[in-house]
Symmetry: C2
Subunit: 216 residues, 2 copies
DNA sequence: CTTTGTTTGTTGTATTTGCAACACAGGCAT
DNA sequence: ATGCCTGTGTTGCAAATACAACAAACAAAG
């Protein structure tokens, strides 16, 4: 199999990668847009191409988007996202490829003390750190009490990441409401109010944030 | 220095640990209850004894508790919790000892390919996974729209962890409100309502959750 | 014991929110 | 074109919430 360019394998030579796939039982799976992505117990998934949403639907049908996994995004029950009975699931936002690796194969001491093995583990720490960052950012957004503050916090985050007051939302407005954990109509009402106050201009997924007015 | 019993050093022999401290520049610091715990850039902190709260105060003085770090809890800017200008800080909830280790020393390839080195990195993956879990749980709680649902979600979590409908809150009610990101008085009002409905009984930090009524 | 500061508990009110219901535009396949 | 589905917008209203202000219980320190 050809070497997969994922940050999990940064610093691993092609030759090492070839030997690794034998020992690691890696699997590469393709998922169509809209399909549910499997979360096999005991395995670590790495997004190789596309985008995946980690979400949950509660008893009363309320949907929440917890995390968007871009390329390099990792998931798996062993990595802290409870899999199975907790109602979490993954949906492919676009066509995507996912690489699955056995968690134990990564974490157990390698009998032949291969150097690339520890490289993988170090890369995993880095990917986990990125995940932590994403979750912290989400928490920071949700920590605000009003819809307006949540919107501004999230918009400021996107503006900072793109170094611009113009940016594009990574999902639809409907999904944005699910990410902010607010009612969609309430969010739209608030967006209208923010537009009246000259804070933002929103057209579909395109946002212009007036930084000076929103005290950035 | 005597070996510190932290999960970061699980599987490391005393002898290895001795050699390690030389190469790793580990530092053990003690903090008094209520003190701010330093978050030095480029270092990883591990809670060895006590409890630490990771929190934030925004412009308007609203405090939010993001995470409670118990023994084994890790933090550091390299691990995804933005340090510095983002307003995050750590407060010792009790007297505590914190072990600091250079991130680079953990993550860089060891010149003398020591086996214990990779053990540390693997342990770090595990600790990061626990962090991810804690953050996900917090997100799950905050994802609920009403104060009552947030309280129930959090209480069910604690009940599940202690395998009992009786449990003790890890912080004061005031701090609980900051963790749930709701107004304290609104929370108390809701708690009174839940008590009227026979869902819970709360006395100081002691909670009894009536699982059957709260549809668990 | 007294003081000081924190935690717990209560209430009124203006504002915000969730909910439900509806209308309309755009994409997409038939 | 036609129907179907999803995303976008809007509004009324009952309910929940933030905010502010206050009182009492409790803990820690002098």
């Amino acid at each position: 199999m050809e070497k997969v360019e994922t940050s999990l394998f940064d610093g691993v030579t092609d030759e090492e990668y070839a030997r690794m796939t034998e020992c690691f039982k890696t699997t590469l799976k393709t998922h169509r847009k809209g399909e549910e992505v499997a979360m096999p117990p005991g395995r670590v998934g790495v997004v190789h191409r596309g985008r995946i949403s980690l979400m949950k639907t509660d008893e009363s049908g309320v949907r929440t988007i917890f995390e968007q996994l871009g390329e390099g995004g990792v998931f798996g029950s062993m990595l802290g996202i409870a899999g199975g009975d907790t109602g979490f699931f993954l949906i492919a936002e676009e066509d995507c490829d996912v690489l699955y690796v056995d968690y134990d194969h990564i974490m157990k001491r390698c009998p032949n003390a291969c150097t690339y093995h520890s490289t993988i583990v170090r890369n995993l720490v880095r990917l986990m750190a990125e995940k932590t960052q994403a979750l912290s950012e989400h928490l920071e957004v949700l920590s605000h009490r009003t819809t307006r503050e949540k919107l501004l916090a999230y918009f400021r985050l996107l503006a900072a990441k793109t170094h611009s007051q113009y940016f594009t939302l990574p999902f639809s407005q409907t999904n944005l409401a699910d990410y902010l954990c607010v009612d969609r109509s309430a969010m739209l009402r608030e967006l209208a109010g923010m537009h009246r106050d000259g804070l933002v201009e929103v057209d579909r997924r395109n946002v212009k944030l007036n930084l000076h007015k929103s005290q950035g």
